[in-house]
Point group: C2
Chain length 203, copies 2
C-alpha cells in the first residue's frame, strides 16, 4: 500500500511538472521570453502557485529545462557513432551530422527563437548555454582525436581548438536559420563548410 501511494504521488508530480513545461513552452513561443511571466505559465498550466514553485523557482529555471530538452535532441546528433575508415567516410559522416543539426534548428525554430532571446537576456540561461556548447565541443574534439589516432586526420593541429572553430561555424549558421535570415539552402551551406573543414583536417 505504502509503495503504491508513493508511486501515485510520483506520477502526479511528474504530470504537474510536464503540464508546467508544456504551458511554459506555449507561453514563451506566443509572447517571447522577456514578456512571459511565471504567473502566466502557472495560470495556463492550471496548477496552484505553491505547487508550481516546487518545480521551478522562476521563468529562467523553466526555460533552462526546455533548453535542455531541445538540446538533448541536438546532442543525439552530435553523439552519433563516428568511426570513419577513410577521408571520404569522414566527410560523409560530418556532412550528415551537420545537415541533421541545422535541419533540427529549422524544425525547432520557434522554440530556438525563444532560446536565442533568453540567452541574450538571462545570465542563468546564457551560463547553461555555455555548458551545453562545451559538451558539443568536447564530443567533436573526441571525434577529431579518433581520426588523428587512426591516421586519417593531421596530427599537427590541436583537436580542441579545431573542434571549437567547427562548432562555431555550425552554431552561427544555426542562429541565422533560427532568426530567419535569408540563408542559402542547408545542404549548400553544409556542403561548403564541411568540404573546407574535412579538406583541411583530413589527409
Amino acid at each position: 500500500m505504502e509503495t503504491k501511494k508513493i508511486s501515485k504521488r510520483k506520477l502526479q508530480s511528474a504530470q504537474t511538472r510536464e503540464k508546467l513545461l508544456h504551458a511554459g513552452q506555449e507561453t514563451f513561443i506566443e509572447y517571447g521570453f522577456q514578456k512571459t511571466t511565471i504567473s502566466q505559465i502557472i495560470k495556463k498550466a492550471k496548477t496552484g502557485y505553491g505547487t508550481a514553485y516546487v518545480y521551478f523557482k522562476n521563468k529562467d529555471d523553466l526555460l533552462i529545462e526546455l533548453l535542455e530538452d531541445v538540446m538533448a535532441r541536438f546532442y543525439e546528433i552530435a553523439n552519433m557513432t563516428y568511426k570513419p575508415t577513410s577521408k571520404k567516410e569522414a566527410y560523409d559522416l560530418i556532412e550528415q551530422q551537420s545537415i541533421l543539426f541545422l535541419d533540427m534548428a529549422n524544425k525547432e525554430k520557434l522554440m530556438m527563437q525563444v532560446i536565442e532571446e533568453a540567452i541574450r537576456l538571462s545570465d542563468n540561461v546564457r551560463k547553461k548555454w555555455t555548458e551545453i556548447r562545451e559538451q558539443f565541443i568536447k564530443r567533436i574534439s573526441e571525434d577529431i582525436a579518433y581520426a588523428q589516432k587512426n591516421e586519417l586526420a593531421r596530427i599537427d593541429v590541436d583537436c580542441s581548438i579545431v573542434a571549437r572553430a567547427w562548432f562555431h561555424a555550425n552554431e552561427m549558421y544555426l542562429w541565422e536559420i533560427v532568426k530567419d535570415v535569408k540563408t542559402p539552402p542547408i545542404k549548400e551551406i553544409v556542403h561548403n563548410i564541411a568540404s573546407i573543414y574535412t579538406g583541411g583536417l583530413y589527409k
Copy 2:
C-alpha cells in the same frame, strides 16, 4: 568673417561631440551598458542637456558611434591588401590578419565587453553589429574570389558561404577573448584555424 564664424561653430560642435563620446566611453566602461544613463554621460561631459540631444538622441545612438569607431580599426585589418601568389603566401597573410584581429579584440577588451552587452540588450546596436559583420564577410568573400580567380583556391566552393564560416570562427574566438574565457594563446588559436581553413580552401 562669416566663413570664420561658421568654422568656429563647426569646431565647437565637433569638440562637444568628442567630449560626449569620450564621456560615454568612460561611463560605459565603468558601469556597463545597461546601467549607464544618458544623463550620467551628459553630466560627465559637462555639456548642456539640450546640446547633448542635438548629437545623440539616446545611449544606443552614442554606443553605436563608439562601436563604429572601434570597428573601423578592425576593418582596417580586414581591408589589408590581399594579393597572394601562392598557398604559402595566402596562409601567411590570413594568419597575420587573424592574429591582428584577435590582438585588437584583446587590446580593446574593455570597450568590446560593453559592446557585447549592448549587442545582446539593444535591438538597435544588434542591427548595427549585423551590418558591420556583413561588411567583414563581404571583404573576406572578395579575397576568396580573388584567390579563386587566380587559381590558388578551389573553385567548387561558394566564396560567400565559406567567408561567413571563416568570419564566424574568428568572431567566436574574439568574444571568448573579450569575455576573458580561458582561451589558448592567440597565436596558437590562429595557427590551428588558419591552417585548417587554408588547407581546405587552397590548392
